[in-house]
Amino acid sequence: MANKNNEALKQPMWANNPVLVQILGICSALAVTAQLKPAIVMGLSVTIIVAMANVIISLLRNTIPNRIRIIIQLVVVAALVTIVSEILKAFAYDVSVQLSVYVGLIITNCILMGRLEAFAMQNGPWASFLDGIGNGLGYAAILIVVAFVRELFGSGTLFGFQVVPQCFYEAGYLNNGLMIMPPMALVLVGCVIWFHRAKNKDLQEN
């Protein structure tokens, strides 16, 4: 049992990563990664919401009628997202402005529905909690990698602090404006997937 819980936590971090392997939750992963700070806030919010939603649905799993389960799951998730969104507005207003509609879009983040359907409906609360944390962190990890590259090359900063020294600019170095544009996020995630599949040969398609 302990072994299984361990798997639930570790599997989604690398071998079964929600973004790279299951291709879930792409929308927000791409949109909030122009800078590191919103990416981390987004990653944390999703981790908390997935874990909580997994626990709640797992506790309710024997009482939910099968036919209306999707609507129940959506309502639970929407309630949690509303709470997180209000908290963000109260304590981290500038980040919540940067994230704009993407906080609300956590409701329709496929990771949530995917995990609720695939894991929480069949497993106990503790295992579901670990699975939620694992998937949330796996998702956050990709966000951070992509945001790191985009912010470093796109604006020469990390967390808003200047990293590329001034003498580089004087020597003719320029920020790559394309990095902050939406298309580069897609290309970068494509490259991360390429790297990931080159390491995990069994995932390659024929």
Binding site: I26, A31, I70, V101, L105, N109, R197
Partner: protein, 202 residues
């Protein structure tokens, strides 16, 4: 009248749901393997968007705002969307079983398609905008124009990608990049092409 038209064109090309906001990516990547299915899903999304967005607009302006219940909007919007998707599912199952089978799990998943929810949330954001702004949604007609435009934009994107992927079947792609990897990079290149429209002044 002019405002309707510019909002409509703008939401197809400039503010394209997929290429500018990355909305609806999950089903966009998964169902774009052939043009016919892509067309079916595109039509379903246009239809659902066309109904849910104006309904949510009316709810927001006539119910939530006057009562000061703005924080309930997430729950209410998603309930409206889930209900309407259920309806569409029943209609498609009855009248076009072949389309129903080829869409499979992705028909119910329109409920969690971010393009639909995102459309409603953008509409909510744009209600208070300056009416001279081409993005502003100030009346019921605007919300219909935006719904149609964003739905058509999404459908256009998925049909284009499906067509490219059909051709790409025969290409010699490095093994680890096959499938999802190359699709991401293709979408990135398509998004760059769509960026040309952002200079368009309407």
């Amino acid at each position: 009248m002019e405002h309707f038209f510019s909002l409509f064109v703008r939401s197809i090309f400039v503010d394209n749901m997929v290429f500018a906001f990355f909305l609806g990516m999950c089903s966009f990547l998964a169902v774009s393997k052939n043009v016919k299915t892509a067309l079916g899903l595109g039509a379903a999304v246009i239809f659902v968007q066309f109904i849910t967005l104006p309904v949510n607009y009316l709810l927001q302006t006539k119910v939530l705002d006057p009562m000061g219940l703005g924080f309930l909007s997430f729950i209410l919007f998603i309930a409206v969307i889930a209900g309407i998707v259920q309806l569409v599912e029943m209609i498609v199952e009855k009248f076009s079983p072949s389309l129903y089978n080829s869409l499979g799990i992705f028909l119910p998943l329109i409920a969690v398609n971010c393009a639909i929810m995102g459309g409603s949330l953008f509409m909510q954001q744009r209600i208070g905008m300056d009416p001279d702004n081409t993005q502003a949604i100030t009346c019921f007609g605007d919300s219909i124009a935006f719904a149609l435009g964003s739905g058509i934009g999404w459908a256009l994107a998925i049909v284009c990608l499906a067509a490219i992927r059909e051709k790409m079947e025969y290409c010699d792609i490095p093994k680890p990049l096959k499938g999802v990897g190359i699709t991401f990079i293709t979408v990135g290149l398509m998004a760059m092409a769509f960026m040309c429209f952002s200079g368009l002044s309407i």
